[in-house]
Symmetry: C2
Subunit: 140 residues, 2 copies
DNA sequence: CTGCGATCTCGTAGTATCCGATATCGTAGA
DNA sequence: TCTACGATATCGGATACTACGAGATCGCAG
């Protein structure tokens, strides 16, 4: 199968869907959706983020993130507060339960990556990052 | 930017969102959504596909595809018909207008890929494909 | 203190996605 | 032949995602 080399973009989307689905299945206990998982994973470093930063990190618009953060806040996983020094920006921070969830997510992500990338050469992984980065920065 | 090497999975999702958005912007004239574009791109080889095959190709469930194909059919881009020899399966084929749209999409995809991958080594692209493929096939 | 740009939220609308149930079809087995 | 079982796709209903435009709040320059 997969006789033709297959467009990088199509392969990319397939991989995204597939990994997202695996992750959602593994993390079903948390009761989180894909977007929420993605947001928490990007918050996992513990640094506070603004809505804009987070939107850029997950690849969506700030408006989209509002509802996601709403739900995360309602569940007590994050808090919203003004950023000291610039009260326009909203600072999104993990709570204790949010940090716990983020750790679980990070471990699942790391485990999945380990399983997938086990037999591959570092050069391949490096090439992957180069391509992904180039694709992310492409403009219309 | 990109100070930390950043998880492959997060980078993957970011790239998917970014490229999808660029594509949707470029192809706004067609009046198609991301899922529809994805489906047409996967049908672009002209071969007939079944709903299951197409679902696997785009990375979603057959139920999800039904509504997408519904819309494509209503717009006259595809036809549904029974597959000769197995009337359970539904054969999805491009119409003339669907083929035209698919060509436009393929060109946009190819152009985007060319722009993004221009300066990169073939080895990097090869590594990208290896990683993406491994990620796609990972299991829970 | 006035205007302008930045940042976020809210309202609204259309899609996407899935689960469970159902209908149709193919195939193996009695 | 006919019956049971697996495969395939659709339908109904529910939830979430995503975006756009409008509005609110705030920082900053003059």
């Amino acid at each position: 199968m997969n006789a033709p080399p297959d467009s990088p973009l199509l392969a990319l989307q397939r991989a995204t869907h597939a990994t997202l689905h695996v992750l959602a299945t593994e993390l079903a206990d948390l009761g989180l959706t894909a977007a929420e998982i993605n947001a928490l994973a990007n918050l996992a470093d513990g640094r506070p983020h603004t809505a804009s930063e987070l939107a850029a990190a997950v690849g969506s618009r700030p408006t989209t993130l509002t509802s996601v953060v709403d739900r995360l806040e309602r569940r007590g996983h994050v808090t919203r507060g003004p950023r000291p020094g610039d009260r326009r920006a909203v600072q999104i921070e993990l709570t204790d339960s949010g940090r716990a969830a983020a750790v679980t997510i990070s471990e699942a992500v790391a485990g999945l990556e380990r399983r997938a990338l086990d037999g591959l050469s570092p050069a391949a992984v490096d090439g992957f990052h180069q391509v992904v980065r180039a694709l992310t920065e492409v403009r219309a």
